[in-house]
Symmetry: C2
Subunit: 420 residues, 2 copies
Amino acid sequence: MQELISKANKKALDYLQKAEPTLVGLGLAIDDIPGMEKKMILHAGPPIKWENMSGPLKGAVIGGLIYEGLAKDEDEARKLASSGDIKFEPCHHHSTVGPMAGVVTASMPVWIIKNKAFDNLAYCTLNEGLGKVLRYGAFSSEVIERLKWMESVLAPVLKASLNLSGEIDLKSMIAQIVQMGDEGHNRNKAGTSLFIREIAPYVVMTDFSNEDKSQVLKFMNSNDHFFLNLSMPACKSALDPIANIPYSTIVSIMARNGTEFGIKVSGLGDRWFTAPAEIIDGLFFPGYGMEDANPDIGDSVITETSGIGGFAMATAPAIVQFVGGTPQDAIMYTTSMYEITEDESNIYKMPTMNFRGTPTGIDIMKVIETQILPIINTGIAHKDPGVGQVGAGIVRPPMKCFEDALEAFVEKMAEEGLIK
Amino acid sequence: MQELISKANKKALDYLQKAEPTLVGLGLAIDDIPGMEKKMILHAGPPIKWENMSGPLKGAVIGGLIYEGLAKDEDEARKLASSGDIKFEPCHHHSTVGPMAGVVTASMPVWIIKNKAFDNLAYCTLNEGLGKVLRYGAFSSEVIERLKWMESVLAPVLKASLNLSGEIDLKSMIAQIVQMGDEGHNRNKAGTSLFIREIAPYVVMTDFSNEDKSQVLKFMNSNDHFFLNLSMPACKSALDPIANIPYSTIVSIMARNGTEFGIKVSGLGDRWFTAPAEIIDGLFFPGYGMEDANPDIGDSVITETSGIGGFAMATAPAIVQFVGGTPQDAIMYTTSMYEITEDESNIYKMPTMNFRGTPTGIDIMKVIETQILPIINTGIAHKDPGVGQVGAGIVRPPMKCFEDALEAFVEKMAEEGLIK
């Protein structure tokens, strides 16, 4: 049996290493995301009902319903959300990922990423910027107006620019940014910069007004997290091909909805293993503290699942100014992740680690054996709807997800007669 | 006397730390560089006559004369250069710096940088890109045509963009890039990226054609060294205020003309201390080797003089892929530079060194005492005119420059009766 597992895990890693995430287009959720519906809201993490949603996810749902014109204010939105007329489904059930609340509604523009090695697609909305934003549960009029501008100006300009530039190789771009102090989750300053310099010559060539084009470039320049919504679907597209490899103990998804943390394991297919999400240890913005923090939320942990983010912290020591700790901690975090991963990335190489590849492919058996949990860099949302981000920090998943997954794996092996 | 020196060096470092290099405009050499003349050619390094110039400097002079229309081909240019009709002067004598050959002619566009703490200005041409370029001694028609395009399209578009954007704070930009894997001399990928994302929204708003604007953005995007010609005059503008502080033993200039290495020392004012330039140890492009290399050339060592470049290599470990060695060497180089410098930068902080400031302000007394020479990251030019870059590597100045400077300093102290 050990050999079966070992072979399966090698296959999973082979798929992951071969992935070629490529930005191929920009579309609309309703047109492009498979199974998307007018009255459906996608959210981060494992499945959850309205009544169990945390503050920031509820806030983002309220904002999403107002943005779609399905509700005119918070009251109406709450009524509608609890009426049963709205379908709530995880982004991950639709080849999609979303940072923080991860709310995706029908009219939202989405990046389209193709893993060219396997031809599978992944989707993600465009990053809204900092301050009061939907993904952190804010839904005031400025949030809705910004989303409308993104739909009516930002996305059309970028879509036209992409049509002129042709596809953009995100694998190569991520390989470069991990040599420029980004880890691709909470630090995307280099990624944002490389994306802007790549697309800007084509933004210029579109038929939009100079004012619109300039606003689009300023919007991207004002937000060092803009690339997050490209690194996330790049990772998602790389991981999807390993979603169902029999006997593999490699984690194919980690995700949180703000209430629960959930994982999926390659050899266990579609089954979620969930446990209550943890509180994040980190640096808080002035005026906020631990008591304001919502538990861990968002699909952005897809970056760690594919071997960057917290796993690549050693290459992004400047991030400790944002998430806390010291550069030595960052190196220690990355080093310890080799204990629970199957391989080292063949392309994401860290100069500070003597060009060692990032630790890639979390093995649930190694997690249980070493009792080392994956490390995650993440933003911290306020626990109440409508507030927004209050800090950033470091968190780990609950051990229970991995224990339950391993138990299920052992049961499955027993069912197949591979162990007695 | 020790106290006088110590006070003077503290003053020099205070000036250097207070510097506020800021991009304030884009002009023309003949209009803006003080003392520039129609039949004058500025070059890198200490003063040198035509007959003593190395191949790449001769090549760049030939190209410069053709570009100016003062000669129609290589033969005419060589005759004119040796006729005595052309004045050759160091860039440094005109508040200017130039990478490699450093040739500046009357019609060339130049960045204008102001050190806002002292209101002094510094100048530098715009970076030409990679491959066959004037600064490496190439002068073929493609080189001249590119220079003409830079004069007629690149510079006007960027000048108009700068008029719209307003000044750009280079101190803050350099502080950011040393946290993104750049050291500001041979690695300027982050700097180039940050500059593009800052200026692009204003390029869009200029009145030029979309084609021209797009070409300008593509040109900058195609060349990760584009920011070098901003980091160099930023450093020059920061160092000029310390050019003449009585009793200070801090180096105010290091520069090479391809034949000789020259330094100036704050307390010794305008006097150059020169010695034959060294050969560079590094990585060569395929087909080239040590036997093709010209000795050390260029004003770009102004970056090391002000505390970045080779001195900040620890923060740019990816650079070893370009200049040779290992990330450990990079840390070792930076660490050893603290032995010969007066202070640590209060703003250029290296995450990989636990946010320690870069070693800043070379003290000739410490160089002699420790026998540790400054470390320099640099490009390698072919020794023949017309060829171009053949590699990149690491080099140190000749010890003789420092020995002679210290001897002169001691003599001066004796003249003033401060030592017997």
